[in-house]
């Protein structure tokens, strides 16, 4: 493992800044950097020069990731997420819109953690997909939810899975939720300000009982009992807060999570599709149900 550090093209940041590498080298440095940071955690964020634009080709409307205020003819027409406040000072706060339109929630109760998500992805007002999997199965005891950039969430949670496995092998013991969420938070903190867009909840069960952490690409890592993320989170919070008790049964907790997501899909234009529900308990996680919102609508209407 130690040898990897020597291979890393990006040792101290000062060296990197002085180079003017070719496109190929830039690409290699970036991918190695990801590995290095995960393994060594001593590779500071390298400064971005002009080479940054070559590595990322993300389609129209995306301001160059990592660049400060760009020159006049550049991608200033980036899609602005109406949910987020405009950042005026030319900061490269992520301007990728897709998947911030979403609703995901997770809450702890006496029998574990309930995780519920919708499945819609939008680009502007166009619905790209109604069948997106927004819960990432990190390992049989840990789940991560996806909000923000799908690629960012998918990649970094997969890296987290790798790190958790390494921890297990080294320590002959399952990783705690606190440690797993800390690993993820530290990984993305190195990229703070470069435009990663990731808002995730790390949910699991360890020897301290149920664990739930909110981690995002700004570097926040917060422990809590109940979280909801995305444009529909305001509606989900309302339903959850009115129905939540510590002593819910598993059935009741699942219903609460499902109902909260359903109500969010009803009111929020950017949430919809199906409600995917998971339950994390002492033996790991279980996929409880996948319900199409159309069926839920009918079911709740009949119940009322």
């Amino acid at each position: 493992m130690a040898s990897k550090g020597a291979l890393c093209g990006c040792i101290p940041s000062q060296k990197c800044a002085n180079k003017k590498p070719r496109k190929l080298l830039a690409h290699r440095v970036v991918s190695k950097m990801a590995l290095a940071s995960v393994l060594n955690q001593n590779c500071a964020a390298f400064s971005f020069g002009s080479r940054q634009t070559t590595a990322f080709d993300c389609g129209p409307g995306l301001s160059g990731v990592g660049l400060e205020s760009t020159s006049g003819d550049n991608f200033r027409f980036a899609i602005r997420n109406p949910m987020r406040p405009v950042v005026e000072d030319g900061d490269v706060e992520s301007k990728i819109q897709f998947l911030h339109g979403t609703t995901t929630l997770a809450f702890k109760f006496q029998h574990g953690v309930i995780v519920a998500v919708d499945s819609r992805a939008t680009a502007g007002s166009y619905i790209c997909s109604q069948t997106v999997k927004k819960v990432i199965e990190i390992n049989p005891f840990l789940l991560g939810t996806m909000a923000g950039g799908a690629a960012d969430c998918g990649f970094w949670e997969r890296m987290l899975a790798r790190q958790c496995r390494v921890y297990e092998l080294r320590n002959k013991e399952r990783i705690s939720v606190a440690a797993a969420s800390k690993l993820l938070a530290n990984m993305v903190y190195q990229y703070k300000g470069m435009g990663l867009s990731m808002g995730t909840m790390v949910c699991g069960w360890d020897k301290r009982g149920p664990g739930l952490y909110y981690v995002d690409s700004d570097g926040s890592r917060v422990c809590g009992d109940l979280f909801s993320l995305g444009s529909g989170s305001v509606y989900a919070y309302g339903v959850m807060d009115s129905g939540f008790r510590q002593d819910l049964t598993v059935e009741e907790a699942c219903d609460l999570g499902r109902r909260a997501i359903y109500q969010a899909t009803y009111r929020d234009a950017y949430s919809g599709g199906q409600v995917n529900l998971y339950h994390v308990h002492s033996e790991g996680w279980t996929r409880v149900s996948q319900d199409d919102v159309l069926e839920l609508h009918q079911r709740y209407k009949d119940q009322a």
Partner: protein
């Protein structure tokens, strides 16, 4: 944020054999938040004449009311029902009056001639350019999706029942690909002797 997609919405009209159909979604929202699911976008302007308005909700209501006012005066002066083509010109005139501060709507007109019962559909842009077609017209935040659906599903000389099926499928599937439209569909099928109004069961997300 675009003004035309502030409230969202979609309308379309199709022409069949001696009949026309006009449909709209039912959502009224303010950006991402849905406010009601029973917002009227189709307005009767004659016994066999409907106008559908998509765009900014306040202008939808204002234009329909002002248009009704002008139409009432027309009917009193002329002593007869207005022809669809003339009505189209009336709408065009109303919109062009606001050329440099327009109403943010894109209307769609569907109806039968009061005397000959000839079917007629047309659409206009927000400053009143009329466009008469033989097949279908669409307007709203998901117009591209609606064009795709109509282009593939429509065929000439559909009977009223088939026309209803066609316009319903086109609307439902186009709306399912737009975040800002949906929450139900209303369809009017206008024939010589009757108008059938139906509400469709749609996805409510």
């Amino acid at each position: 944020m675009s003004i035309m997609s502030y409230n969202g919405g979609a309308v379309m009209a199709m022409r069949g054999k001696n009949c026309v159909a006009i449909a709209s979604d039912r959502r009224f929202g303010i950006q991402a938040q849905m406010v009601t699911t029973d917002f009227e976008k189709l307005f009767p302007m004659g016994e066999r004449l409907f106008i559908g308005l998509a765009g900014l909700a306040t202008d939808v209501q204002t234009v329909s009311q002002r248009l009704k006012f002008r139409l009432n005066l027309y009917e009193l002066k002329e002593g007869r029902q207005i022809k669809p083509k003339t009505f189209m010109s009336m709408v065009s005139n109303l919109l062009y009056e606001r050329r440099f501060g327009p109403y943010y709507i894109e209307p769609v007109i569907a109806g039968l001639d009061p005397k000959t019962f000839e079917p007629f559909i047309c659409s206009l842009d927000l400053i009143g350019c009329p466009m008469v077609t033989e097949d279908f017209v669409v307007s709203g935040t998901c117009s591209e999706q609606m064009y795709g659906m109509c282009e593939s599903l429509w065929e000439p000389d559909l009977e009223p029942e088939d026309l209803f099926e066609t316009i319903s499928q086109a609307m439902l599937n186009a709306l399912d690909r737009d975040a800002l439209s949906g929450m139900g569909v209303v369809v009017h099928v206008i024939e010589k002797d009757k108008i059938t109004k139906r509400s469709l069961k749609a996805r409510m997300d």
